[in-house]
Symmetry: C3
Subunit: 334 residues, 3 copies
């Protein structure tokens, strides 16, 4: 019997098993399960984090993103009704809070990286402090870049009534905001935290941008669900992409041996990529101003100013005579 | 050097920079960052909302959706164990809470629209009240329409054990519920809030339905991740669509000049659209009872009763002899 | 006038209606709305759950998943800084909490299934207790299987720096973890809860795995948004799939008459499926070691060791001369 047959058979056996734990045995059963779980912590080292130290906290990192969005877009998130006269106090208090929370998480991430215990590691607090100040110093520049992204979204989307709506509710803009924050931290060689940040954005927007990718200004992602931008992708200014676009690797079967190699494409300035298109490979360059049509699958470079589309989609039309749409299924499939 | 080369070079320089802030300079550094951020608020007007007024609150709008789902589907969400004898008191208390919360957010949205301060605007409370009563009056009709959507999901999905499961856990049904709420508010010309509602549903379901689209009854979205239904799409009764389907625009390069133009397709009654299909263009009409196959890409109208599929998918088969699935990568790509 | 014309006309009329509720009528209007909603509860039985009993709670089930992840991956989630010396106490306390919360939800789900009131049902507490102990006893085995999934992710993804990052932030691993928990409960014939669990994972990861599907070890889903794995799919060991892959049914137009029939494909060991591919049909078997290329659409079986890709993607290249990327739209579409 082949491997898949074995899986199916084992599954059938488990579905048939009727012998549940008897209730009079529950006290012993509880103790046995505790022991078995503790034993399994011994047996499977890669799924435990015991006697090692501290890790960053998801909840704390999501809170930092929330506070940073309040700092980046004052009045849109968090406290409302802000006035110019007192804005410096608001900024100071917010920045103080962000710095403390960020440094705590940086410390955990750096300690994790040096595989040490929760105790003191020489110079690590100092390093975390330097990273946090270096990061916070980039906020005015981040605001300028994000303003170009908002403008690109407004210019590019006829459904946008105003720029407030974009800041407030566009998932593409939220994903880009979190990416730009995470990318700054990745430049500062912060471990773990940048990826946790972009995976948080992925979770709430369906847009998966690796923090290592390099993206120019005036970037717009419309709708966005299913977008994947790989670790070594490079994107110029004024690029616009739609839902379901993959900027991916040709093959990752070689796994860890490909670490650090440029595996994802380059999009030059002014490129548009319509929904569902896949552009793959580290040597693939989409030239300036090119337009990649919906569902196109590309593994080679495209010259500047070219429009690429799927040639004659070769559709098949057949008549059928539905009598009743929801009751009587037609006798064909798909 | 071209633009993309400049982006790559600048990025390389930033990655090389070793000069982090020195810890002894942190007090001054903190004050400098506060000043720089306050200055950037001056410099980038589109990313601040200061001295202007109030905006709707995301958290409050999500809470309103939560309460409305409790009102629409009593016993499924929120309070459990409801009995007929006292149900009117439960409805009254819930409705009172929803009305107050909705009116507060309507006020913020309307004030934002008239670009005024948080203070009183003549007649705006009255207008918010009228909108909230008009909306709440549609709830019985919403319940009837949503009951048809549940029936369509049950009839159409062999994996559904019962209708409770659909109300309780189907993302497609959740997205349609929020769309139907948001659409009622968009008919009442409420600014900002309808889009915040549907983007919330987009975030938790991966299904992006613009509140402006018009959708008939017995509507079923299966699985749903990646579905996009554009602002001017029109969908008849008894339509069924699958994950990854786009009802989109042909091109939005013309941006804001296209506002208000019909850019998205019409699907007549009884249409089925299988996963990954894209139907684009405001003049594209899919006739009654037509079936659009998986991954089909359509920009022209389709007659009623037609089945469209990708003609002979033209696949290429090649042998390879994998020795070890996870260790030795084959020498080809993709 | 056809059905779609009627929908459009009715919508236009509703958009034109100016007669909002007058504020002086609000007291009466409120009472009327309450009555109308209560009446609609009578009229639409499938959207109410009154006089029937209790249902499982979403919030409680999500909390159980959170606690189970803490138990499965100690030190990664929840309490930090764990040490071996006291780990048994930590496990005992956590397991006690999980058991109580799980039994309460099992009781609600089982009671719902027997369509009874909230009151006592003979033997049901005993049955819930047996199920909870049987489930908790599988945790050590779940940990072993999940360890193989982590290893597969690390081996297969050059962007993974270490296994901690995978446990911590990979959505594919999160979805697989929740699936494996839900699948154990579905084997124990628990109603409602398994699907609520996997739909929660679907919501936060974009990956939709039906709890009924059977999946071998060393399973890796990369990126993952848009993945759909149907109820009767069977997947061997060492399988790797990418974002947007559907393992689906050929047609579900026959609806409920297809319940229990194998409608979804089988993937044998070592199969790779690249992004956007669709594999449909219950009799479709992808042989061991086969590689299915990006965007491939398959409805027939594929022999072991075969590589399938879209033959010559037939792209169309056209020149255009963009003058200004964001201002002047070219005169073509897509």
């Amino acid at each position: 019997m082949n491997a898949i047959g074995k899986i199916i058979d084992e599954h059938a056996v488990r579905c048939e098993e009727k012998t549940l734990v008897s209730s009079k045995e529950t006290v012993q059963a509880f103790a046995d399960i505790v022991s078995a779980i503790v034993d399994s912590y011994e047996a499977e080292p890669i799924t435990r984090y015991i006697d090692v130290g501290c890790l960053p906290s998801h909840a704390a990192i999501i809170e930092i993103i929330r506070l940073l969005r309040e700092l980046l877009f004052p009045g849109y998130f968090g406290r409302q009704g802000l006035v110019s006269g007192s804005i410096a106090y608001h900024v100071g208090a917010l920045l103080d809070d962000i710095r403390d929370k960020l440094q705590a998480q940086l410390l955990n991430a750096l300690r994790h990286e040096v595989m040490s215990k929760c105790g003191r590691v020489e110079g690590i607090e100092n390093h975390a402090e330097k990273i946090s100040y270096s990061f916070l110093g980039t906020i005015p520049r981040l605001r300028s870049t994000l303003a170009t992204d908002i403008q690109a979204a407004f210019d590019g989307d006829p459904a946008a009534s105003n720029t407030d709506e974009i800041i407030f509710s566009y998932p593409g803009f939220k994903a880009i905001t979190v990416y730009r924050i995470a990318h700054e931290l990745s430049i500062l060689k912060v471990p773990l935290i940048p990826r946790i940040m972009t995976e948080y954005a992925h979770s709430v927007t369906g847009i998966d941008i690796h923090p290592g990718s390099v993206i120019g200004d005036h970037f717009f992602i419309d709708h966005g669900t299913g977008v994947v931008i790989g670790e070594t992708a490079v994107i110029g200014n004024n690029v616009k992409i739609y839902q379901g676009v993959t900027l991916g690797a040709l093959s990752t079967r070689a796994g860890q041996s490909l670490r650090g190699v440029k595996r994802h494409p380059t999009l030059e300035e002014g490129v548009t990529v319509y929904s569902g298109a896949s552009i793959l490979g580290g040597e693939t360059v989409i030239g300036a101003g090119a337009v990649i049509g919906g569902n196109v699958f590309i593994t080679k470079s495209v010259p500047a100013g070219t429009r690429v589309s799927v040639k004659s989609p070769e559709l098949q039309y057949r008549n059928h005579m539905p009598q009743e749409f929801t009751q009587e299924p037609p006798d064909w499939v798909i």
